[in-house]
């Protein structure tokens, strides 16, 4: 079953006081249930925007989002009962203790169950700190409480936005283990954004790579690793179907609607050959040549 589905989702941040910003363009995504799905990409790529849309915090400018089989526009409340979200910035109500924070957030889900809170405090090893005001906790403990909060309603789908951001490696490693244990134990679906390739490798069953508001690659780790051989990209918008081309230097081809992306060893050398060959079959509307960029560096790191 599909836990989350995005169909041609666009997001524009409109502002009265500054320029409108296109944050996501034509996102198509399917996330199967009971897996950990990673969203990777550089800062400002649109990862947080995408999970905020799926978590019903934002509404898309265009497109459809389906969460747990429900339309995200029509069934906001029902969806919210079954999902949760947490962010890498560990911010909860400052003057409340971890126990009080968890109790407050459980109440907001209509839940008054001391047992759930006790279990979460134990699972995240917060016993010692459960009665200390949140603003007096260490960053690591703040992050644990913030993460624990995401499970107060026994969600079926959890969005974790850079859950180990800013933590020292040891705490980050332990938190990753906790996330994995929780996912396995409760059979939940987790959508996770991260900058850390090690985190993605350790946790994620599948990964989508976002850059500049677009999903530029998607698949399991093996598929993405195979793409490492590619360096430059020649993007062609064409009217019609381009058949498979037998040209040296093309490692991989991707098709999204009428946009074809050719991953090549050297765009300067291959451009004329590709254009010449493609022109035989279709009318070319637009050509973009992109050299290796941060996105490729990110992928390179996951070797």
């Amino acid at each position: 079953m599909i836990a989350a589905r995005c169909s041609d989702v666009w997001m524009v941040y409109n502002s009265l006081f500054s320029e409108n910003k296109l944050a996501l363009r034509s996102i198509n995504l399917e996330i199967e249930e009971n897996q950990i799905y990673g969203l990777l990409g550089p800062n400002g790529a649109g990862k947080t925007t995408l999970i905020s849309l799926m978590a019903t915090l934002l509404t898309p400018a265009r497109g459809e989002i389906e969460i747990l089989g429900m339309d995200a526009k029509k069934h906001v409340k029902k969806i919210r009962e079954k999902i949760n979200i947490t962010s890498g910035n560990p911010n909860l109500i400052w003057s409340l203790t971890p126990r009080e924070n968890l109790r407050y957030y459980a109440f907001t889900y209509g839940i008054n169950d001391k047992r759930i809170i006790d279990e979460l405090i134990e699972f995240f090893e917060l016993e010692e700190h459960q009665n200390v005001e949140f603003n007096r906790l260490s960053t690591g403990n703040k992050q644990k409480v913030t993460l624990a909060r995401a499970f107060v309603n026994n969600p079926l789908l959890v969005f974790l936005d850079e859950p180990t951001k800013g933590l020292d490696p040891d705490i980050a490693r332990r938190l990753r283990k906790k996330i994995l244990d929780l996912q396995r134990e409760k059979d939940i679906t987790i959508v996770l954004t991260t900058h850390y390739m090690a985190e993605a490798e350790f946790l994620c069953d599948r990964i989508a790579f976002i850059n500049d508001g677009e999903i530029v690659a998607e698949g399991d780790q093996n598929k993405l690793k195979n793409m490492l051989k590619m360096k430059d990209r020649i993007i062609i918008d064409a009217e019609g179907e381009i058949p498979l081309l037998d040209i040296d230097g093309i490692h991989y081809r991707e098709k999204k609607g009428q946009r074809y992306t050719f991953f090549v060893d050297n765009s300067e050398q291959r451009l004329s050959d590709i254009v010449k060959e493609v022109s035989k079959f279709v009318k070319i509307k637009n050509i973009i040549v992109k050299e290796a960029d941060l996105e490729d560096v990110f992928t390179e790191l996951s070797k």
Partner: protein, 267 residues
């Protein structure tokens, strides 16, 4: 509504009472809000009245205004805080991503505001009586309850307005939490009858519920309301604004979800 649904809604409402109550209890400066400023206001206005050698009725007139302003300010702050606590701690997305509705937020926080407002009222009533001979219990109990409840609902509306402004304009609107009551104070005749206002301004006064509740309360102290049916008018306006406010909030929230204001608060 089924029993489990009712129970869930109850807890979602209680969530905000629980949170506001703990924060209020834990914050030393809450004492200033609940006791210090209301008492300062009562004392300064009462002493000024004594200095000006006002009649008993006139002194009661302005002291009722001072008391009303204080309790309205207190009750509205709790509703305003329902979003501000989250905004200040950059955790608003966690509240907004929960199934708790605006009704849950407002009702839950308002209950703490009512509690604080009532506490302040009792302290001011006792202090006013001891210091200036003001008897705030002069009217029948039902009248007192209706007056206080009307004023508390008006306070809720002020809090809701601030929440809407926050959603629409972000941090820029934070100042509204303290200024809206001041504007209402000017218009609804806290220290003077609204009949002294220019006719154009008076029209605005009459569309503020607090104007009518004050006139109702003062009618027990020998002052004739400038309009008939003060209580009905006050409550009628309260209900009307609650409906309009809820509608505007829903629209403001839709807009905030479209424009991303919700995320900006959490960054």
């Amino acid at each position: 509504m089924s029993l489990p649904n009712f129970r869930s809604e109850f807890y979602r409402t209680i969530a905000f009472s629980y949170r506001n109550f703990i924060i209020t209890r834990r914050n030393f400066f809450t004492i200033f809000e609940t006791l210090f400023w209301p008492l300062i206001s009562l004392l300064s206005v009462g002493l000024m009245g004594s200095y000006l050698d006002l009649t008993e009725e006139l002194l009661a007139f302005i002291l009722i205004g001072a008391v009303s302003l204080s309790i309205m300010q207190l009750a509205q702050l709790d509703v305003t805080y329902v979003l501000l606590f989250d905004i200040w701690s950059k955790s608003i997305k966690y509240t907004l991503v929960s199934p708790a509705s605006f009704f849950n937020m407002v009702a839950g926080s308002w209950m703490v505001g009512v509690l604080r407002g009532f506490l302040a009222f009792m302290i001011l009533a006792i202090s006013g009586n001891l210091l200036f001979g003001l008897n705030l219990m002069q009217l029948p109990l039902y009248g007192l309850i209706l007056f206080l409840m009307g004023l508390f609902i008006n306070a809720m509306l002020i809090g809701m307005s601030t929440c809407i402004l926050l959603l629409l304009f972000g941090y820029r609107a934070e100042v509204a939490a303290w200024t809206l009551t001041a504007i209402i104070m000017l218009l609804c005749g806290i220290y003077y009858p609204v009949t002294v206002l220019p006719p154009e301004v008076r029209v605005v006064s009459y569309i503020i519920p607090a104007t009518h509740f004050l006139e109702f309360f003062r009618s027990f102290y020998g002052f004739h309301p400038s309009m008939d049916y003060s209580l009905i008018l006050g409550y009628g306006l309260n209900v009307l604004y609650l409906i309009i406010g809820s509608f505007i909030y829903i629209q403001a929230m839709k807009r905030a979800r479209k424009t991303g204001t919700v995320l900006q608060f959490s960054e």
